[in-house]
Amino acid sequence: MEGLPIDSLCKVSRIALTEEEKARMEKELEEILEYFDSISDVDCDSYDPAYHPVEIQPKFREDEVEEYISADEMISQTKTYRFFVVGPKI
């Protein structure tokens, strides 16, 4: 059983762990992963993956414009500049 590549996972998910958190997590994650590995011996090849627990029928929207929430309300909680939402630099 290979260990979790914690550093690259943290990087990919933009989660920074403190040294303390990392030390604690390494052991916990190892235990959890071992527990996850217990599914490897389940006989389930004849089953299709169940993406939902019940059948979900296709449901569509008609191509119509709907004014649902006012634009003012939508940007009222973000930092804005001339109606643009301000985000971090790239």
């Binding site: 990919v12 649902y68 939508m74």
Partner: protein, 430 residues
């Protein structure tokens, strides 16, 4: 040289892919937004039926195998323009696969394979600032078709021809081709594939390709290996540049989109594909006229094709094309078929037409023959032909080139094509 493209085009729908916000262009940022397209917690996507239908239609026009059942995935990555930090896109059950586009070059016909056509949502629009970005979510959630080619393109001519052909096919599917084409280029010469991301517009695509190929060839000449990487195109410098963002190996970690389901597609009504290049080829043979001229006329103009189809059995292609070119010159293409018939009839009967005469005809009046100034006509002919001996040689090989000259004269002077063609033959003893 192996070049592949990943093209993104906005589909012609009134509302967005997963919500009812308008897709209409607007100057005011963040005015067509809602919790769904801004990625607010608790919001959920619902699929726009028309978007799926149009995407199926586009895939069909690209001769793809259409999915009987289609579904969506989440592509998770972090960037300020991505409202949910995942894009709802497609993977295994994409709308269309295994299609093709036939292009024509100086070397003949070639098939460019279309690997896949998939339906996905557009991220937001961002404006890069020094210490921030400005984000406009009006674009977020607009339905896109992503069209992916195999690396079958092997020259600049082929690339140009492909883009042209693709845009024409898309035009006839109702896609707004005035919106700039956005594509990623994948280019490999001697080594690995290099990806040039987010190139906008036909000119930039050709420039970027040209630059990148010569960059790679230079590296190879100096003994360097070319490694796989992602670059972007700098329009101002006309160069491709290494990605300034350290390609933090994004792990997309695709999962089935659990807020959506599997959609059957049999109900879709597909728009008839119109392949302008194929029509031009057919008409050229059948009506003895320059293929290139017909193609250029109809590739982004369905009205022109309509006019041709309405008259091709009853008038010479020469006259039909000449008439259309005149109407285009005077910006009168919005007239109906009946009016077109009137103008065509007059032109074909030998009446030479100018703008005022054409307008009279359209409004239902008759016009009289105007006195043709032969001198002027002959001058224009001489100007257009240039070297008479050379022209005669080419004519011997391909008589259709006379149509080209006739067209130019008619466009400039408005005489009847038949009359002009006769004149040319007399002048050159053809």
């Amino acid at each position: 040289m192996k070049i592949g493209l990943e093209v993104h085009i906005a589909l012609p729908t009134k509302s967005k892919l997963f919500c009812g916000c308008s897709t209409e262009q607007t100057e005011l940022p963040n005015s067509h937004v809602c919790p769904v397209c801004m990625g607010f917690p608790g919001s959920k996507p619902v699929l726009n039926k028309k978007a799926l239908e149009v995407c199926l239609s586009v895939a069909n026009a690209l001769k793809c195998k259409l999915a009987e059942s289609t579904s969506f995935i989440r592509k998770t990555y972090f960037y300020p323009d991505l409202p949910k930090s995942f894009q709802i896109s497609q993977l295994d059950q994409a709308v269309g696969t295994d299609g093709r586009v036939i292009i024509k070059t100086s070397a003949g016909s070639k098939e460019i394979r279309i690997t896949r056509v998939q339906l996905e949502e557009d991220p937001a629009k961002i404006i890069r600032g020094e210490d921030y970005t400005l984000i406009d979510f009006n674009r977020a959630g607009v339905p896109l078709a992503e069209i992916v080619t195999a690396p079958d393109i092997s020259s600049e001519e082929e690339l140009s021809s492909f883009i042209n052909e693709l845009r024409s096919i898309l035009y006839y599917q109702g896609v707004d081709i005035n919106k700039e084409l956005k594509a990623d280029l994948n280019i490999s010469t001697t080594g690995d594939r290099v990806e040039i991301k987010n190139v906008t517009g036909v000119k930039n695509l050709l420039d970027a390709m040209r630059y990148e190929v010569s960059r790679q060839e230079e590296l190879a000449r100096n003994g360097h290996e070319i490694h796989s990487e992602t670059r972007s195109y700098d329009e101002s410098k006309m160069e491709t540049v290494g990605s300034r963002e350290k390609e933090s190996a994004e792990e997309y970690g695709f999962i089935f989109e659990p807020d959506l389901t599997v959609y059957d597609t049999s109900w879709a009504v597909l728009k008839e594909p119109v392949i302008a290049s194929r029509i031009a080829e057919e008409y050229s043979k059948k009506y003895n006229y320059s293929e290139g001229t017909i193609y250029d006329l109809i590739k982004f103009d369905m009205k022109a094709l309509e006019f041709i189809d309405s008259a091709k059995e009853r008038y010479s292609m020469q006259s039909v094309v000449g008439c259309i070119e005149l109407l285009k010159k005077y910006d009168l293409m919005s007239i109906d078929e009946a009016s077109f018939e009137k103008v065509l009839k007059a032109l074909d009967s030998g009446i030479s037409l100018d703008e005022s005469k054409i307008k009279l005809l359209i409004s239902g009046k008759n016009v009289e023959e105007r006195h043709l100034n032969d001198e002027i006509i002959e001058d224009i002919i001489r100007k257009e032909i240039g070297d008479a001996e050379k022209f005669k040689e080419e004519y011997a090989r391909n008589p259709k080139i006379i149509n080209f000259i006739v067209g130019k004269v008619v466009k400039e002077y408005g005489a009847s094509p038949g009359y002009v063609a006769e004149k040319i033959r007399k002048m050159l003893n053809l």
